[in-house]
Amino acid sequence: MPKLSYLKALNRALGDEMARDDTVFLLGEDVNHALTNTTHGLLERFGPQRIVETPLSEQGFTNFATGAAMAGLRPVVEFQIPFLLLLVFEQITNQAAKFRQMSGGQVSVPVTYLLPSAGWRKEWGGQHSDQPYSLFAHMGVKTVVPATPTDAYGLLLTAIRDDDPVVFFAPIAALGVREDVDHAALQPVPLGVGRVHRPGTDVTLVAIGHPVHDALAVAEELAGEVSVEVFDPRTVHPFDWAGLAASVARTGRLVVVDDANRSCGLAAEILATAAEEFALAAPPVRVTRPDGAILGAVPQLDLALQPSREQIAVAVQKVLKSTG
């Protein structure tokens, strides 16, 4: 079977969906020259009415997308750097995401915000490595963080077809991931449905985005001593609580890996919900970045702040030993 890379999956999903539905169009910076590679070949294929190069006016074109969506189109807005989502945070969370409710359900705002470079950008300094997906979940905006090429393809299709704003985080660290796929079998992946990448009986190890691959590696590594179930929610909001509950019901133990700042992050939400609703045989453990961590210009400093496989392994062993 042919190999599909995560980056190519994004490019293919955009192309397939634009071909299927001509209300879909993409706008962003340097998209004509496919700087991020997601739009590679699309300008030639669909022309400048569908692939729209924008100035550095993120708030302006985010509002523009809101308007185009309210008038019946399905814009995909590409952002080059995580902080650009912070720059348009108000336009997404307080405007695009609120018009439906403020109109009593009359207005739809089907915009996809595509960040093909979430998380750490090695050595690019303190302003290029944020991982702000939990912020959108707090504000109630649909948010996905796929870990694999097939999930990236399927969730991008679903995000574009969804009638609400959806923020799509593609982790830089996952862009190179390749997978054997039967292209004909590629299909939409529903929002809010997690995925058990590896079944297990002793511990549920939750990971989202690129740490899924670290989680799988650790599970494999520890296979001799412990049976680890790797659960990938894939969607941050709405979250697959039923899926996680089922997994934890099987294992009774919980570890969450989240390569984002600790306070009020996704891992916090998962542990909080587990503490309220799940029966745990041992206290759950989070492996995250520190509070307010800023990943900067020196890799050895940054790496000391990011969740490591060793930390994950230690956390798994810890929840196994302890009892609630």
């Binding site: 100035p55 509002n63 523009f64 008038a71 019946g72 929002l191 609580w241």
Partner: protein, 320 residues
């Protein structure tokens, strides 16, 4: 005959807001309102230049915009009073109403951001063909908001069919234009290559003529225009002003502007008889509007999470 229609629209807006003020005092409109009394000529004149298929973006001071575009006054008042019969089932209120059926896209609370939204709507209309245009209202306070300026650049770059209408009523809440705007308002439009002019916003027919010209340019693919309408709000920024003592405008200035009341200016162009008839029709309509509003039910408290999402995704309650 536009003269009469303009008069009717202005009269309707004026009396609609006067009745709304009564409902504010009566506690039926809990948010209070941002009255546009004194500025009705802009809403009436601009919308008189539009077709039903055209769209508008309103502001927080938007009752006039909606009424002039054709929103049902009953359902607008009901919306302001938080009734489920309102144009947005009570979810928009006085501040954030939208009325797709009448071509009112919405009124975002983020001052100035309607400019980029309008550009997106115009892009979609242009793609669909049919020469429809968008009129986008904003105030003088909006012209130093970055997102507005970004939106003007996009609209001009892409020659989008938008008429940008700046209602310069001299103040952003308490802030005088002079202390907020370096350079000029029309200069901001010109900076992005947008034909921009200032006209007398108190004269409804002047507003109509200026807008009609800009609309023509937009329909013909000539791109956006910006029109600064010199106007004035006769009342406070918001009804709460009646309860707090804010002294940012002097009596004389207010009095001078009241001499140039768009209702009077347009009334003078309509015959005694026509005016009497129109006024009577408007009064009858507004009695009906208020009755309809007060007779309408309030939304069921159980519906607090309605319309959050397009599909029925699970939304967890605040306690599990």
């Amino acid at each position: 005959m536009p003269g009469k229609d303009l008069y009717r629209t202005i009269r309707l807006i004026r009396r609609f807001e006067e009745r709304a003020l009564e409902l504010v005092r009566a506690g039926e409109i809990g948010s209070g309102i941002h009255p546009c009394i004194g500025q009705e000529g802009v809403a009436a004149g601009v919308c008189a230049a539009l077709e039903p298929g055209d769209r508008i973006l309103a502001t927080h001071r938007g009752h006039g915009h909606l009424l002039a575009k054709g929103t049902d006054p009953r359902r607008l008042m009901a919306e302001m009073a938080g009734r489920s019969t309102g144009i947005d089932a009570g979810r928009g209120g006085s501040f954030h109403p939208s009325d797709p059926d009448a071509g009112v896209v919405g009124a975002t609370g983020t001052v100035g951001h309607s400019v980029g939204i309008a550009a997106g709507v115009a892009w979609a209309l242009a793609r669909a063909g049919g020469g429809r245009v968008v009129a986008c209202f904003f105030g003088d306070g909006a012209v130093s908001q970055g997102a507005l300026l970004e939106g003007l650049n996009l609209a001009s770059l892409w020659r989008l069919p938008v008429v940008y209408v700046c209602e310069n009523n001299g103040y952003a809440t308490t802030l005088p234009v002079a202390t907020a705007v370096a350079g000029t308002i029309t200069g901001r439009g010109e900076a992005f290559g947008i034909p921009s002019r200032t006209v007398d916003g108190q004269d409804p027919e002047t507003v109509l003529a200026a807008t009609a010209e800009a609309v023509r340019r937009a329909r013909d693919g000539g791109g956006p225009s910006l029109i600064e309408m010199s106007t004035y709000r006769f009342l406070g920024h918001h009804t709460f002003e009646s309860s707090v003592r804010l002294r940012y405008r002097d009596e004389a200035e207010v009095a001078a502007w009241k001499e140039r009341d768009p209702l009077q200016i347009q009334a003078a162009r309509v015959s005694e008889a026509d005016r009497a008839r129109i006024d009577a029709e408007v009064e009858a309509l507004l009695d009906e509007v208020v009755a309809y509003t007060l007779a309408s039910p309030r939304p069921d408290p159980a519906g607090g999470l309605d319309h959050l999402y397009a599909d029925a995704i699970p939304v967890r309650a605040g306690v599990s």
